[in-house]
Symmetry: C2
Subunit: 266 residues, 2 copies
């Protein structure tokens, strides 16, 4: 595939985007295939799959499941013609909860007993926020969204437990209600905020020092608004230490064939 | 517990209702504990639990999961202080997909490897429909809701497959939009209809002969409206024949501590 400028990335089809990453292109996926849903992934051995699916059922805001590839499957309707082992630009490999590699494909790590969970991502509602006139600070500032481990525990399930991880977007006080209203219509991609305005209550000591992603400058008159974040599953992996897991690398998402609008309710 | 008239049933707390069924009372639960969510249940051996949870994830309209009791658990937050083995008025026992018993408790059938799924029930939205001025024909006619196996297949998951089962309520043509609007706000209890007006397309040959429940008279000017039904999981058990399963008997539901309003969105 030839070099792509920003316009090309935005209009590249999901299938062509996946093919580009499969062919070796490595970059964050923000801005690619506008209008199509991007997703977090987590692959776990079959023995851990029930616990994770139950963890997701009990924690639907941070872990909204869009699809599941059963053990032995490497493709599915959300990535038609694709291959989950190669079609993400960069992956994270965990052994016993420790990150051991960040490869650009996982062919050599793959096992036939892995079940892959495809999990909603807030990129979907960011587009809706922008369409609704709400500016996104980390996009304006050219950085990754700031994410924080909180002192709020997810509901545990079997062997899996972990903290709720949130993303933060500073929102002008006059638009907080708009941001709640717009994102509440996307429950499959984290939905309404979990918290508005008081980071201390979430156990976040310093907004300038996120646990994942980048700090953003909070403009005057903006309120920090917190949404459940798709990094929560990987935080549960780090805490609970399943023998093996594969995730995407932060910001390097699966571009799916589902449209953002597929997840809009009512 | 003393004898109960209709008013008493409606105002009995969920905990007292469960205690009454635990003590041996046996009757359908329609009309009990008004304002509290009633639920379908399905208990399966741990080895089948992942497939069922995935089946539910892939078929959220007929199988909305409200809670899961992990293997070894017989109570949980939806039935605080209760016991899933005794607190439902009547159960259905399946071996290899065949109904073998309909006991009033399952103490002698219970196994420590059973995982219990608590599944949303349309009783919740029937209250909302009535509050919205939509009459419910089967309630007016004093019978159980009619339910039909359709020719629509659910999305399979591992060893589990089965037909979509629907319930039917005749709705005055002028109120069909209201019925859609009201029920769409309860996605955790089957949500909006799956079909309006044409039973042939669902493979239903004769509305007067339901597969479960009772036939209702369709008044002139009423349109048959079809909702996904919580009997679908038991239809999957009959088709897929897991070695063992426990369900509730039709109309004999778990009365939970959740309020109907807990499931109202947005």
């Amino acid at each position: 595939m030839a070099s792509l400028d920003i316009l090309d990335r935005a209009t590249t089809s999901p299938a062509d985007a996946r093919a580009a990453f499969r062919s070796g292109r490595v970059e964050p996926t923000a801005g690619w295939s506008r209008g199509y849903a991007q997703a977090n992934i987590l692959a776990l051995p079959r023995e851990d799959a029930f616990d994770f699916l139950l963890f997701a059922q009990r924690n639907p805001k941070p872990c909204p499941i869009l699809g599941v590839l059963e053990a032995g499957k490497t493709t599915g309707p959300l990535l038609a013609g694709g291959d989950i082992r190669t079609d993400i630009p960069r992956y994270t490999i965990y052994r016993d909860g420790e990150k051991v590699d960040e490869p650009t494909d996982v062919m050599e790590h793959w096992r036939d007993d892995l079940v892959t969970f495809i999990i909603g991502c807030s990129f979907t509602f960011e587009t809706a926020l922008q369409d609704g006139g709400v500016r996104i600070a980390h996009i304006d500032q050219g950085v990754n969204v700031p994410m924080y481990r909180t002192s709020t525990e997810c509901a545990p399930a079997g062997s899996l437990s972990g903290p709720l991880v949130v993303s933060m977007r500073p929102i002008p006080a006059a638009q907080v209600a708009d941001a709640v209203r717009i994102t509440s219509r996307y429950p499959a991609v984290h939905g309404a905020p979990v918290h508005v305005g008081n980071p201390e209550e979430l156990g976040i000591a310093d907004l300038a020092r996120p646990d994942f992603g980048d700090a953003v400058t909070i403009p005057d008159g903006h309120i920090p608004v917190f949404w459940a974040c798709g990094v929560t599953p990987q935080a549960a992996v780090m805490r609970s230490r399943p023998s093996f897991a594969i995730g995407h690398a932060p910001g390097h998402m699966l571009i799916t064939d589902a449209r953002d609008s597929d997840y809009l309710i009512p």
